[in-house]
């Protein structure tokens, strides 16, 4: 359970989010225009940025967790793979998710390696494990990031625009995995992809003018969408089932 109280975030002396109050019991989809503060909210939940107010997970303030404890609690999947090391293989990359469980200074254990292997098989990318991550396609890279996050075995998984760079087919694959993860994790999905959002099927938090509105139902209808995005909608079409 994530509880956000009076959260205000500023960046470069500009207020991005103001007085956000939100209680996330289960899954959540965060929507809003570019630059509205969706990612900022996600980073605040991860405790990555300076913030006023309180964010607590399981009734404990996020600031009180050590980095290791936090890694076991939350995983954050960025929109795009950022990588300086151009040699690291998929297998090694996915194993990095086990850092928080590893004994300091020692190698990753066989158990860690098994978990990484199972994750690769679960996402059907184990045939790529020898490949350098930076040589993979965008869709495969997104799956690599999800695999790495899954080995963290965290309670909360935050996806930041997971389908931003993907074609419709890869979007469908990622969408199905993300929806499937709802069974075992608390999933927070940030996206612009309304098809994905509606398929994901959870409460919607819409961020506009530094404030947040929670929609528990009746969000994906032409009238609401047209009003919020200032674009005429005539029904959503893509089917990921």
């Amino acid at each position: 359970m994530i509880d956000i109280k009076d959260l205000t975030c500023t960046f470069n002396a500009q207020i991005i989010l103001q007085n956000i109050n939100l209680n996330i019991q289960s899954h959540l989809c965060i929507l809003g225009a570019n630059g509205s503060g969706k990612s900022t909210l996600a980073k605040a939940i991860c405790g990555l940025i300076e913030q006023d107010g309180e964010v607590s997970i399981n009734a404990t303030d996020i600031k009180e967790f050590s980095l290791i404890q936090k890694a076991k609690l939350i995983s954050y999947i960025p929109a795009k793979l950022e990588i300086y090391d151009s040699f690291i293989s998929l297998e090694e990359f996915v194993l990095l998710g086990r850092f928080a469980y590893k004994r300091s200074f020692f190698e990753y254990s066989d158990k860690d390696k098994d978990i990484a292997q199972e994750t690769l098989e679960f996402l059907k990318i184990s045939h790529l494990k020898e490949h350098a991550v930076c040589s993979l396609s965008s869709g495969e890279q997104q799956l690599s990031l999800i695999a790495q996050a899954l080995t963290q075995q965290s309670q909360v998984m935050i996806f930041d625009e997971p389908t931003a760079n993907l074609d419709p087919h890869n979007t469908k694959i990622i969408a199905q995995y993300i929806k499937g993860l709802k069974e075992r994790h608390q999933v927070i999905l940030i996206t612009h992809d309304l098809h994905l959002a509606s398929y994901f099927d959870a409460d919607v938090a819409f961020i506009k003018n530094k404030a947040l509105t929670l929609y528990t139902q009746n969000f994906f209808n032409d009238a609401t969408l047209s009003e919020l995005y200032d674009v005429k909608f005539k029904g959503l079409v893509a089917q990921y089932d």
């Binding site: 980095l67 290791i68 936090k70 960025p78 950022e82 300086y84 090391d85 040699f87 090694e92 990359f93």
Partner: protein, 320 residues
């Protein structure tokens, strides 16, 4: 094949290096403990080879460390102005005519060390004001500092006497010439310390080579890791530069050469980078001694002359 050949060639040169120099040494003479050859071999040549090896380890590991921590292929203690800081410190010591300060440690060394350490602290302090600690900005800061130090050094030159300036020029060219075992042992301890800390932090470094925010989300204390490793590396660089003067190019090229020879994640390249750096500097030093006629060729010139073309060759070719 090429890989193995390069490693064996380097190893061969390192093993024969103590026998090469201005004076030819016969094995039978070396083994006679009373002979001059024995003294040259054990008090000059062996310490010098070891000193060069440890210096190479410190320079190349620091290069690998800086490049990984800041995720920038151009980051080295040299490009960040840390070496220039040491040179300026040494220059001031020479200008002030300071001989030995405490316990016979040369003032040049003490001031050189202080110059390097001061620069590191200055960089760490200034980097707080960089937007999101952008690493290109840090590199620019380092370059600006280098230029500033160079100008300050020009003032020292301008004010110095001919003799002082001669000492200073020799210092800036770098030299691995050591007498006795004090300096090699000192550098040995520091390079062991640096190697050990880099090796112990190899998993943190592997994560930091992906991205800083991801590393911290996986549980790495990025601030503590970065600061600890930077301090130890600066200690090594400060000590080295204060004894030998600045030696460029090794820290920049060795990590890249090893990455080309052994394309693998950073944690698998630590041992190889340290060894290659040590071997490579011994090779360069052997060349300076082999070419010696009246006086020795400065080491910095040789590292750049060999390293530069080899580096360019590696960038444009693919070593299988």
């Amino acid at each position: 094949m090429t890989k193995l050949f390069i490693w064996f060639a380097l190893l061969g040169i390192v093993l024969t290096s103590p026998f090469i120099g201005a004076v030819n040494l016969e094995l039978s003479e070396i083994l006679n403990p009373e002979s001059l050859a024995n003294k040259i071999f054990f008090d000059l040549r062996i310490p010098r080879v070891l000193f060069a090896f440890f210096a190479g380890v410190i320079l190349s590991l620091s290069g690998l460390l800086f490049q990984t921590l800041f995720r920038n292929a151009l980051m080295t203690p040299y490009t960040l102005g840390i070496s220039s800081g040491a040179v300026l410190g040494a220059g001031i010591a020479i200008k002030l005519g300071l001989g030995s300060l405490f316990f016979g440690i040369a003032a040049i060394s003490v001031f050189g060390f202080l110059g390097a350490i001061f620069t590191v602290f200055l960089l760490i302090y200034l980097s707080q004001y960089l937007q999101n600690a952008q690493h290109t900005s840090l590199l620019l800061l380092g370059i600006a500092l280098s230029l500033f130090y160079t100008s300050a050094l020009m003032i020292v030159f301008y004010l110095g006497s001919a003799m002082q300036n001669d000492m200073l020029i020799r210092f800036t060219m770098g030299s691995l010439s050591v007498i006795g075992w004090t300096h090699p042992l000192m550098l040995g301890v520091i390079s062991a310390l640096l190697f050990l800390s880099v090796y112990l932090y190899r998993f943190e470094l592997e994560l930091l080579s992906i991205s800083k925010s991801q590393a911290s989300l996986k549980g790495v204390n990025t601030k503590k890791t970065t600061l600890t490793l930077l301090m130890i590396s600066s200690l090594g660089i400060g000590t080295l530069v204060s004894i030998s003067g600045p030696i460029g190019f090794i820290g920049l090229i060795v990590p890249h050469i090893v990455a080309k020879l052994h394309p693998s994640t950073v944690k698998n390249r630590i041992v190889k980078t340290a060894l290659f750096g040590g071997f490579f500097l011994v090779l360069c030093d052997t060349i300076t001694r082999a070419l010696t006629t009246q006086s020795e060729l400065p080491i910095g010139i040789v590292t750049a002359l060999i390293g530069g073309p080899f580096f360019i060759y590696l960038i444009i070719s693919k070593v299988k």
